[in-house]
Symmetry: C2
DNA sequence: TTGTAGGCGTTATCAT
DNA sequence: ATGATAACGCCTACAA
């Protein structure tokens, strides 16, 4: 069962390798009949070209990679399909590359650029605290999509698409305040977090302050390190602890919908009701937030528009139509059944 | 900004390329000092070897790929981490390759084997109706993990790990019958489906029959083609239609948890209650089934055990410790708050 | 329109 | 322990 190569096909067809290559790559200057014959032989022998060899030789490739950290995050679900569709619409091909938790996405990117001769990259997810120096090692245009971080890289190094986490978080907290809540707990990322966790926490603090509410340290709760972050389980555990502590509060703002769902369940298991005993709000606008019972009040990020814009910007930069761009989208506060005025 | 190669590093270090290669690949016969020096130069120049060239030349690679169709399916969430952990524990490296809906996983597999010199493959998800002939083109050991199909391939061609979809579905339907339900609707895959949809439907029919219940055509509902299959949205749409039709029933068995959640929501929006007006059961045992309100009665698949066993079998075959194996796991019926006796 | 030959960046083989 | 050199499989001038 030795691997079959282009040479074997050439021999089988009685032609030169370059003719076979031309047939494979839809080259124009080749006789249609020979091409048909070659393709037939290829199919009959189940020949598949070796990509490593192709990539090695190729100089250019029209492929764009989407690097995603945290593939299991349902927030990305809708985006991935949009990326694929938009990239194909531009006649490029699309690679979805997963990056493991502890992998450095920059290194993965550089490796992949060399290997596949990429034209562009989309980074999705992760905390992304890389220095400008690291970032500038990436030799092709790239866009940071829905990546919130406190330490933004230089404006010209790369493009970005996201919502304003601070502002949206402010919006939600302010909404809860306007509903009459004064004792609002938050579930956020641990203190060392420098990305969305911090941004959303800051938005919360500012909204409280603008509503004349002093933040209560005991109501600022952090996800547990020993449980997967941003997970339902984490929201459940943190909320359970909060309830048991006997702390007085009327609303919980969880910085993502999964946490919010965990919160709700903890409240139910505690024998209380949402929203009658406690209001619960989330963030992201996942499908499940809408289908949960009660439906969760959340900030809906326009994920598909954001994904489209990501690709649009990327192609603008690739085709030199424009230089790096930074686009901020607005989230929409979707009021569900999980919050009520008091 | 020309790409830097192994030759450049060799020149920079004043050594031959083979010495650099030895340093990179942790070859034993190399002076520790030269190695350290070379690695230093490599780091300073941010040199990263070209994988295409490596793969092309390499004969052997100790890497295993997991090919997953439908990456957004939360059912796979827990499995992926287990695969990664188990593969690394065996000192192999792990590639997660996504397969798009319309892509042929066999072709992707063959391509990848050639490109990366894979040692083994895990197929995850998809309907997988491939002939033995196609399957036997795959030249390395592979395991079909949690792939249900009515037309199983030859026992020796590959291994498999799954639950018995027919039996588990029977179990759930029988459970509903024993609770006193006689008019049980099912939401399943369209008639042309030859995989889990059909298997689970057959289990349902057999259980009804064994309980002396005649199946009612109007209570057998199929996912809508125009909506993503196995999605919450689909469950919602189908259930809404069922409710509107005025059909008489007391329970719904949705063949996956996402469908079941959509069902519940449709029932709520119809002004009815789960489980008081209708009992709802799912299948798979997703986290969200437990955290939903009410928690969903479901068949919990032991996904982590199955993932572990998948890798165990794969290595057994790779290391020639054993030939192809086929392991059936048992699901566990987890009674939630979404079903009640009548 | 087709075939020949050289080279892409790396590793393996053989010398030294 | 190290260096030169021949592959790996493919694409692409260039020649025919």
């Amino acid at each position: 069962m030795e691997a079959i190569t282009i040479k074997d096909i050439a021999k089988l067809c009685g032609v030169g390798v370059s003719t076979v290559s031309r047939a494979i790559n839809n080259h124009p200057d080749i006789n249609e009949e020979t091409k048909a014959m070659i393709m037939k032989v290829i199919r009959e022998n189940n020949y598949i070209p070796n990509n490593s060899a192709r990539n090695l030789k190729r100089t250019d490739s029209d492929v764009i990679a989407v690097l995603i950290k945290g593939i299991t995050n349902p927030f990305f679900n809708g985006m991935i399909k949009t990326f694929e569709r938009e990239i194909k619409r531009n006649k490029y091909s699309f690679i979805l590359q997963t990056v493991h938790d502890k992998q450095n996405e920059i290194e993965v990117a550089i490796e992949l650029i060399k290997e596949k001769k990429l034209k562009g990259i989309v980074f999705l997810g992760g905390n992304f605290s890389h220095s400008n120096e690291e970032l500038s090692q990436i030799s092709v245009p790239f866009v940071l999509s829905t990546i919130g971080t406190t330490q933004k890289p230089d404006k010209d190094i790369c493009s970005s698409v996201s919502v304003d986490d601070f502002k949206e978080s402010y919006k939600m907290t302010d909404y809860l305040c306007k509903l009459g809540h004064r004792k609002i707990a938050i579930i956020t990322a641990p203190m060392y977090d420098e990305s969305i966790g911090k941004l959303r926490l800051n938005g919360y603090l500012k909204a409280l302050s603008d509503n004349g509410i002093l933040p209560d340290k005991n109501l600022i709760r952090f996800m547990k390190d020993e449980i997967e972050s941003y997970s339902i389980q984490n929201g459940y555990a943190v909320t359970k602890e909060l309830l048991k502590s006997g702390e007085d509060f009327t609303a919980i703002f969880a910085i993502c919908d999964a946490l919010a769902i965990g919160s709700c369940k903890a409240i139910f298991d505690f024998g209380k009701s949402v929203p009658w005993d406690y209001s619960v709000a989330g963030f992201d606008g996942l499908d499940i937030a809408h289908y949960y019972n009660p439906s969760i009040t959340t900030i809906k990020q326009p994920v598909e528009d954001m994904a489209e814009e990501t690709i649009k910007i990327l192609f603008d930069v690739i085709l030199k139509k424009a230089s790096a761009q930074h686009k901020i989208f607005h989230g929409k506060l979707v009021a569900g059944q999980s919050t009520r005025p008091i």
